[in-house]
């Protein structure tokens, strides 16, 4: 409860003489804008000139990482699909041909148009297989084209691995390789 005596009502100030005359203020405003006529433009001529990347954790197009043996790092655990608030990840899991993991994604579709680029999938992934990249200028001629499949997502990885290396390249699976401890120490400091 605010007490009556604590309330200060401030009357609005009156206009000063020059403000009442209006004209001096107009001249002042015109002077300000006239100065801007000769200032350097701040426009970035986009397709020709691109802004340098300012933030490291920019959330652009996704990529599916490859591990050091060049296999897709994803273990088809469905964590990202579950975490995704936009329901835009669809995974079909299959039995993995490699013995250090049980499953791998036979199909991995990500609808880049539905995605809200929140980064939840990246947070959720236990093996850091899905990551958001600094790439932002993706275009397509149809909606279907903007649903990125596994190949496209892996291709994004090829394109961006030099700009943004994998955070924890050694995590490959959870079949008792002992890499888990390391990852839990390294994933902090995100976001």
């Amino acid at each position: 409860m605010i007490e009556e005596k604590d309330i200060i009502i401030v009357d609005e100030p009156d206009l000063s003489t020059t403000e009442k005359l209006y004209l001096p203020q107009v001249v002042q405003g015109l002077r300000t804008t006239f100065k801007h006529l000769f200032k350097k433009n701040i426009t970035v001529q986009y397709p020709e000139v691109k802004r340098e990347q300012r933030v490291e954790n920019y959330r652009g197009v996704h990529r599916l990482n490859r591990d050091e043996k060049d296999r897709v790092a994803c273990v088809a655990c469905f964590m990202c699909q579950t975490a995704c608030p936009a329901n835009c990840i669809h995974i079909v899991a299959g039995e993995s041909p490699w013995e250090d993991r049980e499953k791998y994604p036979v199909q991995f579709d990500l609808d880049e148009l539905r995605c809200i680029y929140c980064g939840m999938c990246e947070e959720a992934c236990p093996v850091d297989a899905i990551e958001l990249t600094p790439e932002y200028d993706i275009v397509g001629r149809s909606r279907e084209e903007m649903v990125f499949d596994k190949e496209k997502l892996l291709a994004v990885f090829e394109r961006t691995k030099d700009v943004k290396p994998r955070k924890n390249p050694r995590i490959t699976g959870y079949a008792g390789t002992g890499d888990r401890e390391q990852s839990s120490g390294n994933t902090e400091g995100e976001g």
């Binding site: 009357d11 609005e12 433009n41």
Partner: protein, 399 residues
């Protein structure tokens, strides 16, 4: 051919065609420069993709206007809806007819003045411009009415009220010039300024010039007086329902109106085609070359004005409606009325063209305005004065 040209009627027709042709292009490029200047004032680049420096942008805009689907909404008043844009465009352009573009011309060099470089020189002179200016609001009003849309209707009401309030100071300021020159024809007003020892009317009546300029802004619906198309409140105002070429015509009409308005101010206060002491720009110079030179000087003066219009548009925010009314009825009108009375006294005393007397009077008026201003208080916001007084409490320890 020359014989034919020496006929004022033929000459007028050709001049009209040439001027309307040039002005059509000029109006299109006004839109380009409007965008460029707004960009420069905001540290941006502006249109630069269509053609070199974006110079083909007006063509692209025009093409877009032509090719867009021309929708006529179901509930509009169809004849008026179709008529309003024509009205705006035609009334914007028609005022050019009596602007004195280049003085008298002697076409064959025999020392006899053959024609005047003016499409028409009616005896009513400036009254014609006033009439056209008054009619111009009909484009807005009819558009707003025919739209059958409440926002557009509001815009039409605002435009009418604004026009009513600003025509009066405008007329009074024009009257000052007419009294000083003793003439009502535009060409004669220019000649009177030259004849008065090269003293343009702006030197005699700077305050009246500022008032006239303000009212021209209001007449052409330009910021800060563009209440009739306030995007934020009225979603575009009177042209809410217009699209395609019909919208484009409103657009062109506005710029054409701007050019006419600046032409009028230039003729009345800035000596029209005249520049002092420069040979070729004096009334005695009547060759064809001199005519072209005079036309370009007039055009250059208009260009400066257009730049000023755009500069102001991208500097000042829009007025609130009560401020608009107050400015006209309580500010501009008494001042211009006082100036007008003073000028008529000067005319009676035969001192109408004396610099000292005129400027003295202007100074006196400015002084009175300052004095009244100092006595009056005005709140920053529009809080009405008849609301209950605010009591100010202060807690015990407050500063």
């Amino acid at each position: 051919m020359l014989e034919l040209l020496k006929d004022q009627f033929t000459f007028s027709v050709i001049l009209a065609l040439v001027i309307v042709g040039i002005l059509n292009g000029a109006v299109a490029y006004c839109i380009y420069f409007e965008r460029k200047i707004s960009a420069w004032l905001q540290d941006r680049v502006g249109p630069n993709r269509v053609g070199p420096l974006g110079l083909l942008q007006p063509l692209a805009d025009g093409g877009k206007f032509v090719l867009k689907e021309d929708i006529i909404p179901a509930n509009v008043d169809k004849p008026l809806f179709l008529f309003a844009p024509f009205m705006a465009l035609v009334l914007g352009f028609i005022g050019f007819a009596i602007l004195p573009w280049g003085g008298s011309v002697d076409l064959d060099g025999d020392g006899v003045v053959d024609v005047i470089a003016q499409v028409a020189d009616p005896g009513i002179g400036i009254l014609y411009l006033l009439g056209i200016g008054g009619l111009a609001v009909y484009g807005v009003v009819l558009g707003g009415w025919a739209n059958n849309n409440k926002y557009a209707y509001f815009a039409a009401m605002r435009a009418t009220a604004q026009m009513l309030s600003y025509e009066i100071p405008m007329g009074l300021c024009i009257l000052i010039v007419v009294l000083t020159a003793g003439q009502i024809r535009l060409e004669e007003i220019v000649l009177a300024q030259v004849g008065n020892g090269n003293i343009w009317n702006i030197c005699l009546h700077p305050v009246a010039f500022i008032i006239l300029l303000t009212t021209v802004f209001a007449e052409t619906n330009r910021t800060p007086f563009d209440l009739a198309e306030a995007e934020q409140e009225l979603i575009g105002g009177y042209h809410t329902e217009y699209g395609a070429l019909k919208f484009g015509m409103f657009f062109l009409g506005e710029y054409a109106h701007m050019i006419t308005g600046s032409g009028m101010v230039i003729v009345l206060f800035l000596g029209g085609w005249h520049l002092p002491w420069i040979p070729g720009l004096q009334p005695e110079d009547v060759s064809i070359g001199a005519m072209l030179l005079k036309m370009s000087v007039f055009g250059a003066k208009i260009a400066v004005f257009l730049f000023f219009f755009m500069w102001v548009r991208w500097t000042l925010p829009r007025f609130r409606f009560d401020q608009l009314m107050r400015l006209s009825w309580k500010g501009l009108m008494p001042i211009s009325l006082a100036l007008m009375c003073y000028t008529s006294v000067l005319v009676y005393a035969g001192k109408a063209t004396s610099l000292a007397w005129c400027l003295g009077g202007e100074l006196g008026v400015v002084f009175i305005v300052l004095a009244i201003n100092a006595m009056r208080t005005a709140p920053i916001t529009g809080r009405q004065r008849n609301m209950p007084a605010i009591t100010v409490h202060k807690p015990a320890g407050a500063p």
